[in-house]
Symmetry: C2
Subunit: 404 residues, 2 copies
Amino acid sequence: MFRSAAICMLMVALRGLLPAQAPPDSVPASSNTPGAEYPRIHSDLRVTFRVSAPSAQKVQLVTGSDDNGLGKGPLGMVKDEKGFWTVTVGPAVPGFHYYWLSVDGFAANDPGSQTFFGWNKDSSGIEIPEKGTGFYEAKDVPHGEVRVHWYYSNITAMWRRVYVYTPPGYDGARTRYPVLYLQHGSGECERSWSNQGRVNFILDNLIAGKKAMPMIVVMENGMVAPRSGGEPTGVAQGGPARGGAQRRNEAFADVVVKELIPTIDAAYRTLADQPHRAIAGLSMGAGQATQIGLGNIDKFSGVGSFSGGGIRDFDPKTSNNGIFADAAAFNRKVPVLWYGAGTAEAGRVSGGKAAVEAMNRAGIKAIWFESPGTSHEWQTWRKCLYDFAPRLFRGGATAGKKGG
Amino acid sequence: MFRSAAICMLMVALRGLLPAQAPPDSVPASSNTPGAEYPRIHSDLRVTFRVSAPSAQKVQLVTGSDDNGLGKGPLGMVKDEKGFWTVTVGPAVPGFHYYWLSVDGFAANDPGSQTFFGWNKDSSGIEIPEKGTGFYEAKDVPHGEVRVHWYYSNITAMWRRVYVYTPPGYDGARTRYPVLYLQHGSGECERSWSNQGRVNFILDNLIAGKKAMPMIVVMENGMVAPRSGGEPTGVAQGGPARGGAQRRNEAFADVVVKELIPTIDAAYRTLADQPHRAIAGLSMGAGQATQIGLGNIDKFSGVGSFSGGGIRDFDPKTSNNGIFADAAAFNRKVPVLWYGAGTAEAGRVSGGKAAVEAMNRAGIKAIWFESPGTSHEWQTWRKCLYDFAPRLFRGGATAGKKGG
C-alpha cells in the first residue's frame, strides 16, 4: 500500500512536469515521436501544437500546404509563463500533412514529431485520421515487406537505394509477379511512398480483399545527378540533375530502362514483360511516370499520373510521337492510362480532366479520378493508388503465372 | 558557344547565391541532405557548420557526445552580415556523431543534415570518414537487403516493425541461415543499426570476404509498452515501459522469446535452434542482450555486449542463476560470450574488462574487445559488430545446411 501510494504521489509530481493539462477529448498524433504528448488531435480534428522555447521571441507554425485545414501562412503561437508556445488550428483535412516551426525565423522541426523527408529536408509531419476508412492502415491481413535494396548505377556513377514492396507470401512461393514502378514527388525520396504513403498497407489490404493482383512495387529516388561532394557510400541520394523537368526525366528514364528494370528483374521473381509492368507517380513523379511510360509503351502497359499535369494541347495524331493515332491499338497496348487529382487542387483537376476528356473523345480509354476534398498531399495520392492499383495487370492468364 | 557562355554566366551568378565561398579543401558531409553544402568536412577532419538564421539572437552547435572531437557543451556560432551563423570545430573523431543546433535556446535540427533517430527524437548527424578502413562502406560485393517486416504482438497489443537483414543470395537460395538478434541503444529505434550502424554493409563485406557466416540479422524496437494514445497503426513505436531497466528487459524478453523468434522462424529460412541463434546489442541494448541471452542459454549460443556494463560482483557459482558454475559446460553451450567498448568510454572499459577477466579466471571463455580512440558512439559499435559477427555460428557442419 505504502509503495503504491508513493508511486502514485510520484506520478502526480511527474505530471506537474508535463507541459500542461492536456486538452480534453484529444490524443497525441500517431506520427509523434514515442511518448510525445504534442501535437494532439481533437475529436473534431482541430490540432493543438505545443513546444517549449522559453528564450525564443517568436514561434510560428508553418504548414507545408495552405489548403489542408491547418491554416494559411505562418501562424503565431502564444507563449505561456513557463515558456511553452501553443496554437490550436483546424479542423484539419484527414491525411498526412508536412509542417514545421519558425523559431525566431529559423525553420525548425517540432521535436514532438517524427520527421519525413519532404520539402528537400527531413520535416515534421502530422497524420490526421480519416473516419470510416482504413484502407491505408495496418490490419489483420497477411503483410508484405518493404525491402531496402542497393544497386550500383553506372549511368549516375553511384550506389542507389531502392525500396521494394514484395507482396504477402512472396517468400516461400515460386510465383512470379507483375511490377509497378512508383515515384514520389519533388523534394521527397525513395522512402516517401512507404513512410508517408503507406504503400505497403494499401497493397496488403487490396490484395487481401482480392481487389488488386499481388504485385511488386519499386520505389526509386528518381534524382539522377551525383550530389556535389557526395561519396558513393552511405545513404546515397542523387541531387537534382541540371536542366528542366523534361531533361531530368529523360536522364531518369535512362536509369529506369537500362539499369533499374534489369536490376529488379534479376533480383526478384518478376513477370518481366510489358503486360506485367506499369509506372506511376505523384506530382513530379507523375511527370516522370507519364514521360517514361508513354515514351516506352513497349515496356509499360499501365501508366498512372497522380496530381500531375495533363497532356497539353492533346492531339491524337501527333501527341507523344503519335502513339495515340491508332486508338484501338493504343488501348490494347496500354490498357490502363490513368489520371487523378484531389478536388482541392483545382488547377490539376481542370487540366487533367480536360486532357482525359480530349483523349476519350479520340477513343483513348484514359481514366479520370478525383479524390474528394483533398489537396496536393498524400491523402490524394493514397486514394489515387487505391483506385489505380486494382486496375493493373488484368490481362488475364499470364498474370501470376508460375515461374522458375 | 553562346549558349555555353550564357550557362556559364548563369552558373557564376548562381554561385553568388550560395551562402559563402566554401572553405578550401573541404567537402559536404555524406550525411547531408541532397545538395546541402554544409556541414563541410575539411581534410584534417575539422568540420564547418553553417546555417542561415538572420533573425536569431543566439545560435549554438550542440553535440550529442562531448568526447568525439566536435567540442564540449553548446558551442557558439558567429553571425555574419548576411545572417549566416558559422562555427568550425574539430578535428573530429571518425564515425557517426549526433548533433543539433540551439536557436535562441530551442533545440533545432540542421536543415543541411539528414536526420537519424537518436536522443528520442530525429536528430541531425554527421558522418566523419575514417581513412584506411572501408568495412562499413558500400563496396562492389554482393549486397543483402534490409527488410521492413511488420508483425502483430499480442503481448504489447500493437503492430511492431522489425528490420531484418537478409544476406546476399538469400532470394533464390534454399539455404537456411543462423540469426543474430541485434539491439540499438537508448533513445534509438529499429532503424538505427541500418541507418547509423551500416549493419548491412558490414555484413555484406564480412560475408564477401568469407570472414563471417552468412546470417540473418533481426533488429527490433525493443520498447515494450504501447505509447500513450498511440494507435496500433502507422509507424508503431513503443514508448518506454514503466519500471527499471531490468523490468523493461524482462518484458522485452517475453516479446523476443514468445513472439519475435517464432515470427522470424516462420517468416524466414532460419536455422531455428540454439546453436544458430545469437543476441547482441549496444548500450541499453547490451543490457537487453546479456539479460535475455544469458537468461535463455537454451535459446542463444552467442551473446554480445557492445558498450554495456559487465556483470557486477561476478561470482561463478551464483551469478546469473549459476549458469557459469560448470565453466566447461557453459563454454560448450555458449561458445561466444563477447564484451567490448571504445577506449574513450573509460568506465565501460574498466568495468567490462574486469568482468571478463573475472570470468576468464573462472574458466569462462569470455572475450574482451576494445575499439581504439572511439567513445560511446556508433564507430565503437560498428567495430564491435565487425569483431563479434565473424565469431558466431562456427559450430561446424550444421551452419548453412540446406533446408526445405
